[in-house]
Symmetry: C2
Subunit: 249 residues, 2 copies
DNA sequence: CGCTCAGTTGAAGCATTTCAATTCTTGTGG
DNA sequence: CCACAAGAATTGAAATGCTTCAACTGAGCG
């Protein structure tokens, strides 16, 4: 996985997201609008807390590059990762009012974020409905992810649970063009995975090993390969066909 | 709990939601817009499936009255309830594109829904940004609920988990004025609760009994009373102060 | 080259599930 | 108004999946 390929601020015309065919192309008007709203970029190294639960965030972010994750923690340290954040994701909107975050976001890799002032979000709705619609669509899409994960954590057993999450991440990353020779960068530890699926680290590890020995997946040195997605998805009792697609408008 | 207090279609001016002080009041323009979009009402008895996962829904709904719940099921019948649906909630938006639902919605009581054609949602964004903003805010609010529940299912132990969910529902229902003499209608079975928190029915039952004996809650004949919310919330390690509020706009 | 963090493994303990049976509620028809 | 059936709640006991503890191995880094 490359470190940021651009050394300083990116003009929206050259936004790396625009090159991904997962995202719809924008009209000149939309583009101009985004440019006007964009206040800058935030670059952080791995292991940085970008947003902290309980604090107020004056900015919303679009992820241009890198991996991060959203999570909540109980007072005694138990952590639940609610979702992973990949390029194209929008973060900061999922807060209660007044910009108080209901969860934290930490980076996993070096990350480039595009920043927008929260106070001006309203302008999007007022002047650029198509972008506002995208925003809502993004939120709805994220909700689909949360729903499926909730099903997983609540009702799947360890083996299904791990299998599901591997498939989920593998597909998501592949969809935005992060696969290289069928392998996808997994820039996180087994502990992160454990915290995402609500299992203990040890049991997650043992389950991973079992899946590996069955030849259903390989995850070494930060790269993951799933030779037969269909097979792993079936083990997870997960319907691969319900893939997310782009908005109607 | 009363059956629908209105026998036939409700004009938006008299919408029961408008009487709740949780919801912001609408301008004449907004009201007119909603009236134009509203295509009718859907009334269903308890135990009805309003939306089914995998099917296409041409309508979006606002809940005027009654309880329902969103859920997903695995092929072998294991069910995860992702959230309960109360008056003021919006359902149907949380679908993948093309209106294919990613989850189902069943009613718990008699329910009155206000219906909007999905195909015309775009008009809201185009012509009534403030309502579009509300829609997004609603989605973000729901995400907060999902996040907290995910934390619960994944990382809280049985006792905390049950305590959290009771508090959550009690507060949510109270907030929209459903509390009567400090008691709230809980029109669902212990099995529903079990499926919401990802525990077995038996263990949920035993945990409920324990909490009851501790005097932290009473739930009988479909009504729930929590004499000391703070105490129950503390047991759940849940911060009651992070209450949701209404949108900025 | 040694320190630290991530991954791995076995074994013991325990929370939760599953099984099975009984009681309590609620609604329905005689 | 009572008897009965069906659904919901309750309880004990056995089974098990997952967690915790503990120890070791391996990889990456200064």
């Amino acid at each position: 996985m490359s470190i940021s390929p651009f050394a300083y601020e990116v003009p929206c015309e050259a936004c790396p997201l625009r090159r991904m065919d997962t995202f719809r192309s924008l009209s000149d008007e939309e583009l101009g609008f985004i440019k006007k709203l964009k206040t800058g970029e935030l670059r952080s190294g791995p292991g940085t807390t970008v947003l902290r639960e309980g604090t107020q965030s004056d900015h919303l972010f679009t992820v241009l590059e890198g991996w991060a994750f959203r999570y909540k923690i109980l007072e005694d340290g138990r952590r639940q990762i609610t979702s992973f954040v990949l390029p194209g994701d929008f973060i900061g909107l999922q807060s209660s009012t007044e910009g108080i975050m209901d969860h934290s976001v930490d980076t996993l890799t070096s990350v480039a974020l595009c920043t927008f002032p929260r106070g001006r979000i309203w302008e999007i709705f007022k002047h650029c409905p198509s972008l506002a619609f995208d925003l809502t669509w993004l939120a709805a899409t994220h909700e689909v992810i949360l729903n499926e994960n909730l099903l997983s954590v609540g009702r799947r057993r360890a083996e299904e649970c791990v299998a599901y999450y591997i498939v989920h991440l593998y597909v998501r990353a592949s969809d935005i063009g992060l696969a290289v020779d069928g392998r996808v960068r997994f820039p996180f530890t087994q502990e992160h995975l454990a915290d995402a699926i609500g299992l203990s680290l040890v049991h997650t590890n043992k389950t991973l090993r079992r899946l590996s020995k069955l030849g259903l997946m390989e995850w070494e040195h930060g790269w993951c390969n799933v030779p037969n997605l269909q097979a792993l998805a079936e083990l997870a009792k997960y319907d691969l066909t319900q893939k997310r697609m782009r908005p109607l408008v």
